[in-house]
Amino acid sequence: MEKHSRHQFRSNTLPALGTVGPVGIVLLGLVAVPLIYVGVMSFCSLDQYGNYIYQFTFDNYKNLLNPSYIQIYVQSLLIALATTIICIVLGYPFAYLIARTESKRKNLLYMLVIIPFWTNSLIRIYGWRTFLGDTGWLNSLLRGFGIIDAPIEFMYTRGATILGMVYCLFPFMILPLYSAIEKLDKNLLEASADLGAKGRKTLLNITIPLTKGGIFSGSIMVFIPCLGYFFVSDILGGGNSDVIGNLIQRQFQKANNWPLGAAISIILILITLVLVKAYQKAGGDMDSLGV
């Protein structure tokens, strides 16, 4: 940037302010200040009616150590981990196959991944409920064929929640994988094959290492939202497999204990920061998180 011509140095402040000022205001007013205020609120107390007052207390953080909360954090992390792993296992071969297809319809195949996501995600999740319910399509079908007598209970389980999470977040795994795999140099793969490397060897020694950036950013983009997607566990888990997001939502929209909800949010922010730091350490590119 230093080599920019003389024009750039004339007067930097005014145009910089004009172009970057608006975004600065938005980020300050709608991101930084609100998040700082959440931090402040997490140290607030409740009055006798359950409304928050500015009286310093550590109680909210102490309450976070309640064993039942800890169990929800663990459960939430496990759900997110399972979701991420399933997304990688399903998504990697899938992304590989569509990215390296020689078919003319490559673009179409890519678009077909995106199109379902233009339908409202809640109603698609509800579609799963219609499909998997005890009297849903699948159970009716299986019963119709006489395969089962009693309906299989898919719904309202942790498995159903994970299924919903995978479903909602799948494209966030596919997109970075797709672009990483597409960038792979075909010649490299061929050279490896020519040198006598077996398919598996090429995959392990060349393909996967070269596309690990895609795997990392996909994982971040699946894992973190998973911790907050309370609507999935609400609709499919029947309230039996809550994630951290449910915990926060309950404090703000039901229990009316904002300071506690704020403290849980701070924990969620910390988890996010740790994961993002790890991602950067592993050489992840921040910009590829914003596909």
Binding site: G18, Y37, S121, L122, I125, Y126, F131, G245
Partner: protein, 278 residues
Amino acid sequence: MNKKLKKRIFKVSGTSFCALVYAFLFLPIVVIVTNSFNATTTKPYQTWKGFTFDWYVRLFDGSNASLLDSFKNTIIIAVTSTLLATVIGTLAAVGMYRYTFRGKSVIDGMLYIPVVIPEIVIGIALLTIFALVNVPRGMLTLILSHVSFSIPFVIFNVRARLAGYDNSIEEASMDLGAGRIGTLLRITLPVLTPGILGGALLAFTLSIDDVIISKFVAGNTYTFPLKVWDSIKSGVSPAVNALSTLILIGTIVFVVLTQSNLLKSEKRKSFKKKRKAR
């Protein structure tokens, strides 16, 4: 022979694997579309009672006014917030690329916050601040919130475009006497257009589907996703399915039109290139 067979098996299993994944992705869509033709009139509208077009009619006969209202709100919010986010985001991307100033790295870092932090945290943070300064929750707060979470996506998209941008054209333009603004409008913007459009499309998509953040800042205003959320509580009416089906058809038509156009213009370009090369 053996190798050929192996390759074949590999290919077939690969294709069927992909087909299964697509089936997984489209299954709920099939359920939604099918249920929009369900003749059932009793909650929770799950049992199949025969085929009907009634729900499409009922969508527009006034009995689903609140549903259509919510959809209208969603469109207003999405269009307004996309326009705002696109303008602010494009300006910012250009400014941050071009100028060095104090606090730049701070802004740069803050851009990632709405992208990586779970939406629910953004939602409650906005709620608390709106409650603190006592802004009545509604369209205004919805639009502000949507602007705040979509700006980074616009900036990233434009920035990606800027990365491959050749400054010398701009310098030439200025050397030839065009002002800063003239250069911006005539030279810079056209080059950035694909990035801007990509960002805008992403912002629009995020806005129309947002439920988590909206749930906290909507007050008593309904967006389409919030309406769906409410109807899930008591059973989603096939009218919602009918509207979703129409939206889906609309987007597919839109994509087909723009994509085929895109392909055509790409072809034309490459054709021109070829001719020039000769």
